[in-house]
């Protein structure tokens, strides 16, 4: 379990974190999601002890860890570019944490063999990191972090440096690994799909503050504000403060109260969804997502005049 209380961190006048509080339940898989420069990596580094906060507290399994150096926190950290020890073989990399703890040789060998199997690198034990692919290097870094049986596992942009296909595979693999090992895990990402797909709990961070914490579904369906709504899914803007999901806009062929006149410009039949592009009476371009059935019923054609309105309760709360 990790508890972050009111953590603040400044770098020469720049505010990286401002009063951040976060609860990560034991055994959960949590994502810190935010745009670059939002402070999400700084928060992860504060939890690991690699940065010390200017104010606030970090608790790991109910122990106040704020002043504890990284090596005594019991955290496993996987760095963005994996930080492999380049002069060591895969086996020595994974064994590092056990060696500095002066564990018996036989025990180290056994544990490293276990981990090599867990991350599917059995045949690569005597290679050097430079001889591995990106995905393999990342799995090595994971095994190295897990070797010391950390209380929490922290991953900084774990899939950031990989190409699209490998990313997808590793995502599924990380989920399975978490089910197997069940260590409290926090990972940082700027990719909302990745966060929503992998994590049980997502904390959305922006400009050093936590905007919202919740399950992927909560974030999508009841975002706390327009920023969260925009960051975790598609949106369209009916007005400067009227932000709504494109599937939460209804289209009527007759004038309705609260509806606004719009001109249909294009109807695109994508697979299951139909995408309608319209121009509002004030010239603003919007788009609406319909199902096939809805689209067939409305019989929309470019040039039609329709009336659009957001569905009840679906507008984002003003920031």
């Amino acid at each position: 379990m990790i508890e972050v209380r009111d953590v603040t961190k400044h770098y020469n006048g720049f505010t990286a974190l401002e009063g951040v509080s976060l609860h990560v339940p034991a055994g959960s898989l949590t994502a810190l999601l935010g745009p670059s420069g939002s402070g999400k990596s700084t928060l992860l580094r504060v939890i690991a002890g690699l940065e010390s906060p200017d104010g606030g507290q970090v608790l790991i399994d109910d122990d106040d860890a704020t002043a504890v150096p990284p090596r005594r926190r019991g955290v496993g950290f996987v760095f963005q570019h994996y930080a492999p020890f380049k002069h060591m073989t895969v086996r020595s990399n994974i064994a590092f944490g056990l060696k500095v703890r002066k564990r018996p040789k036989a025990e180290i060998r056994e544990r490293v063999d276990e981990l090599l199997a867990l991350v599917h690198l059995e045949g690569w034990a005597n290679r050097y990191p430079a001889q591995l692919s990106g995905g393999q290097r990342q799995r090595m870094a994971l095994a190295r972090a897990l070797a010391v049986q950390p209380r929490v596992l922290l991953l900084d942009e774990p899939f950031g440096a990989l190409d699209a296909q490998v990313r997808e595979e590793l995502r599924i693999w990380l989920r399975r690994l978490h089910d197997e090992v069940h260590v409290t895990t926090v990972f940082v990402t700027h990719d909302q799909e990745e966060a929503m797909d992998v994590a049980e709990q997502v904390a959305v961070i922006n400009e050093g503050r936590i905007e919202q914490i919740g399950s992927p579904r909560e974030l999508y369906e009841s975002p706390a504000n327009a920023f969260v709504m925009e960051f975790v899914g598609p949106v369209t803007r009916l007005g400067d403060d009227e932000v709504v999901r494109p599937h939460d806009v209804s289209i009527e062929t007759e004038p309705v109260s609260g509806g606004r006149e719009a001109l249909v410009k294009r109807v695109a039949h994508l697979s299951f969804e139909v995408r309608v592009e319209l121009a509002l009476d004030d010239g603003r371009d919007i788009w609406v997502q319909l199902t096939r059935a809805q689209a067939e019923e409305l019989e929309l054609e470019p040039g039609h005049i329709v009336w659009v309105r957001p569905m009840a309760g679906r507008l984002a709360a003003a920031v």
């Binding site: 150096p69 930080a83 492999p84 590092f96 500095v100 972090a145």
Partner: protein, 268 residues
Amino acid sequence: MPANRRTRIGLRTVALGYLGLLLAFPVAFVFYRTFENGLGAIWDALTTPNAIHALELTLIMVAVAVPLNTAFGVLAALVIVRGRMPGRGFINAIIDLPFAISPVVVGLALFLLYGRQGWFGSWFLDQGIQIIFSTPGMILATVFVSLPFVVREVIPVLREIGTTQEEAASTLGASPWQTFWRVTLPAIRWGVAYGVVLTTARALGEFGAVSVVSGKILGETDTLPLYVEQRFQAFDLTGAYAASALLAAIALATLLLMTKLKPREAET
């Protein structure tokens, strides 16, 4: 493209010619002149008591200056690159002093400080330790002039490897001491090794600073470079060439040793 090819060959000729004329040819010539009179003459020239003493003294210089400057160099590089204390820029600047100042000036400064009338010299003399015109002074001069090499070789390597490997080690439970020996030092080892080779070469060959503080007492405070000059002045060309060749051979052996030790893994 033929035109480019001609330019390339032209450039190569100029570069190789320059290197040959200025570097390879003079060194080769020393060896040539050395072996001109046969191996027997060289052996005789190098086994005189004075020559043996000069070699011993030179090796003592290397044996003290190299470990000292290696330890200090790595420490200073760590402070400059990783440290947070104020005054790092100042340290960084003064480390180049031995490069900037003429070795003769260094020798004179040591002379003034540690000589009979110097600030520290008289105190040391009271303790029965003679520094100038004796081995300690020559060691001081050698350490001074060969100080910057390890620092200058290690700093860029430290910058390049960054801090993430060290951070990784700390999250894995390594103490700062363990992190240094197991992660940082292996990562910078080629920078250190190259610095050691340059330091050795400089310590072997230093003339100016050592010459001022040694007093050039034959058979007592004569290092190999001083001995070469002394033989040369005495019109003993065989002795001068033989000692020169020995100096060059030791330096080349150090360089070869490092190249040999460098494993393949470092090339990737």
